[in-house]
């Protein structure tokens, strides 16, 4: 189906199904209940982030997962995409089609430029170079090109780029909407379905991003299974042999870099389309680090890993930052007082504002013990079950690419 083999087609269908019914899956508890306040995640902005970051990490995985080139500056392309989209809103109007096209295009050009320089070296050098160049882009966006008093204010500095009333918006016709939309279909619009205490939100922006993510995912499957993808895996495996087999590794790596940069730009354009504001913090190296973490956590070089990783992190970021000390005391009240206070004191550092610490620890544990990420974890659990059932073999949906 769709030119995919059976296993990949099944995987694609499962992901498509999950994207479709996510508004139900993410709101399993009644609205307003304490469990619901804690664990429900079916809000439009959060769901949009799930799929948009999915696109970003799918693209990153094409570079890192296939070629093994670890880019530490991928957030730069996300930021460049965001700025380009907002500029389209400012110049042409709120229709998101030109915005997204331009963000993909501009980030493609930038990744060609940066990739051309960074790919002159490999390995550690490459990681450091991408990190440095992304940080340079951040500095450019944050201060150099963002001085509100200068004539050449591309990024609006600390405040962030946004649409103002006196912007030209040449393509704005009478009566067209004042928020980002796709031919009148506003990204912010939602349909809410209330059913005996449960509330499900179906958001336009989410579904549009979801469909785009599915397309991106489909393309990434095709790339993984293509001769081009095979060459990229050959780069990761043995550059020397590749060279002596008559293949020029650099244009292959550069193509992968540009593709993944365009994925990042697409994600950036979508982020701006959901909320027409672009800030430099999206390009900071911490943001690049988060992309790396998402990819590693999900499972590098696997098809579904990026989606799992970005979803997992966005979800737990949301939950962990909601937990506070009084909630912890409430949960642990059955423990003896001294012990309870002790445990809460320790946990305090890991929840609320401390969620980044949890993320860091989790990331380290995955790198040390589970280099294949969640996908490998799933496979291990799967094998454990199969062995118990007496070796009956069944293909897991989370089977990796190789």
């Amino acid at each position: 189906m769709l030119g995919l083999n059976k296993k990949d087609a099944l995987l694609f269908m499962i992901v498509a199904l999950l994207v479709g019914i996510a508004p139900f899956l993410l709101n399993p508890f009644p609205e307003g209940s304490s469990l619901g306040q804690m664990f429900n995640a079916g809000y439009p902005d959060l769901m949009q982030r799930f799929v948009i970051f999915g696109i970003l990490v799918i693209g990153f995985n094409i570079l890192f997962g296939l070629t093994g080139y670890l880019s530490f500056g991928h957030a730069a392309f996300l930021g460049i995409g965001s700025y380009s989209a907002v500029w389209m809103f400012k110049l042409l109007g709120y229709n998101i089609v030109p915005a997204i096209l331009l963000s993909v295009l501009v980030s493609g050009v930038f990744s060609l430029l940066i990739g051309f320089i960074a790919l002159r070296r490999t390995g550690i050098y490459f990681s450091i170079l991408t990190l440095a160049m992304a940080q340079m882009c951040f500095n450019l966006a944050y201060s150099v090109l963002g001085n509100p008093n200068s004539n050449f204010n591309l990024t609006n500095g600390e405040t962030g780029l946004q649409v103002y009333g006196n912007d030209p918006q040449y393509l704005m016709s009478e009566g067209s909407r004042e928020i980002p939309h796709l031919f009148g279909l506003a990204m912010r619009d939602s349909y809410q379905w209330e059913i005996s205490g449960w509330l499900f939100t179906f958001n336009t922006g989410y579904y549009l991003s979801g469909i785009i993510m599915l397309v991106a995912f489909y393309l990434s499957i095709r790339i993984f299974r293509s001769p081009f993808g095979l060459m990229l895996r050959a780069i990761k495996s043995n550059k020397q042999r590749m060279n002596y087999t008559g293949l020029n590794a650099r244009p292959y790596a550069l193509a992968a870099f540009v593709i993944s940069g365009m994925y990042a730009g697409l994600a950036g354009g979508l982020l701006s389309s959901m909320d027409p504001l672009a800030g430099a913090e999206r390009m900071h190296w911490t943001a690049s680090g988060e992309i790396v973490i998402m990819a590693i956590l999900g499972g590098v070089g696997t098809l579904v890993g990026p989606i799992l990783g970005s979803g997992f992190i966005e979800y737990f970021k949301n939950i962990l930052s909601k937990i506070n000390d009084s909630l912890l005391h409430q949960w642990l009240s059955w423990l003896p007082d001294g012990l309870e206070d002790g445990i809460v004191w320790v946990l305090h550092f890991f929840v609320g504002k401390g969620w980044q610490l949890t993320l860091g620890v989790l990331f380290m544990l995955v790198v040390i013990f589970l280099p294949g990420g969640l996908v490998e974890g799933g496979q291990r659990v799967g094998r454990l079950f199969r062995r118990k059932k007496g070796g009956a073999d069944g293909a897991s949906a989370k089977q990796p690419a190789e």
Partner: protein, 343 residues
């Protein structure tokens, strides 16, 4: 002329910090073959050693002073530092005043311990894993260290002043025959520069004149051969890592009066130190030091108003631009050797 000297001086302190961090990075990279993304965090830990010492020294107890009354007529609470109570107010106050230099004594054992635990507990297990894994695990460690510091000390910068003796500026221009006040320079920055030179000299002397240093240098040149000679490199690697951690730590301690420490200072410096290492040439110690000072001074020049008028914002990106140009023209950096970290 005076403006040029002033900018060179201005670049020295940042350049010193770059050079010290890059030196440690290169030591670890050259001996262990690991790129330590947590090296900035070690710099930051050093800085927070200074904060800790300052806090410990200023621990105080309060008593009610019956002789003084507040406006309601109640006895006033007076805080007294323990140090002042033990050593007398004058000596006590000066000990607190000297907390940053004292913190060096505290930070050396702490950083050696941190370095030892890091290498033995974590990095050792990554020698045989791919470079990407090494980068990732040290990056994770950097996040963890940084977040622990944030959770404990908060997100705001903590002022840690230099001893009163070294605050203020002195007139450098008069010394070399310029008009008065033409070149004034903060004293502590000069202290920092001299301190950095001493540390760098000590590291080089250690590598040059001790047998231990010779083995390490041989190991940097050719790891496999040294291993074949039956020399236990592993132990030396651990010690080398601890030394590198120590260099980063004391660099952090002494930097606190120049910039109040915050939890993300390590990573800010790390990114630039990486650039320094690449410009200097991966695996070259003199290259790291040279590039550190060079880029520090270059940055200072770029932040002159005369130049900023001409090219606005150039000071923010000059280091990266230079790095890109050098990399395009001399792919191995200024003093890099062939075959270091290349396929």
């Amino acid at each position: 002329m005076d403006a040029i000297i002033l900018q060179i001086l201005n670049g020295l302190d940042k350049g010193s910090a770059y050079a010290l961090i890059a030196l440690g990075l290169t030591l670890i990279f050259g001996t262990l073959g690991v790129v330590n993304f947590a090296h900035g965090a070690l710099f930051m830990l050093g800085a927070f050693c200074a904060v800790t010492v300052q806090r410990i020294l200023s621990l105080s107890y309060s008593v009610l002073d019956e002789t003084k009354k507040d406006f309601l007529g109640n006895p006033l609470k007076v805080d007294t530092h323990y140090i002042e109570a033990w050593f007398g107010p004058e000596i006590g106050a000066s000990i607190i005043d000297w907390s940053v230099p004292l913190a060096i004594l505290f930070s050396i054992p702490v950083m050696i311990a941190v370095g030892f635990i890091m290498e033995r507990g974590l990095i050792k297990h990554f020698y045989k894993r791919p470079h990407a894994d090494q980068i990732l695990v040290t990056f994770g460690l950097a996040i963890v260290l940084q977040e622990i510091i944030k959770a404990y000390f908060g997100a705001n910068p903590i002022p840690t002043p230099a001893p009163a003796l070294f605050t203020g500026s002195f007139d450098f221009g008069v010394l070399i025959g310029f008009a008065e006040n033409a070149i004034t320079y903060p004293i502590w920055r000069l202290v920092y520069f001299i301190f950095a030179l001493l540390v760098i000299a000590a590291v080089f002397a250690f590598l040059q004149f001790t047998t231990f240093g010779m083995v390490v240098r041989a190991g940097m040149a050719d790891r496999e051969t040294v291993g074949l000679l039956g020399i236990n490199i592993d132990k030396r690697f651990t010690i080398m890592f601890a030394i590198a951690a120590c260099v980063a730590g004391v660099a952090g301690v002494m930097y606190t009066p120049i910039n109040s420490p915050n939890y993300h200072m390590g990573m800010d410096f790390l990114v630039l130190s990486f650039v320094v290492v690449v410009v200097g040439g991966m695996g070259s110690l003199p290259g790291a030091v040279l590039a550190g000072f060079m880029l520090g001074i270059l940055e200072a020049f770029a932040s002159m108003n005369e130049i900023k008028q001409f090219i606005p914002g150039i000071d923010q990106i000059i280091i990266y631009l230079v790095a890109i140009i050098i990399l395009l023209t001399r792919p191995r950096g200024l003093m890099g050797r062939k075959g270091v970290m290349e396929e």
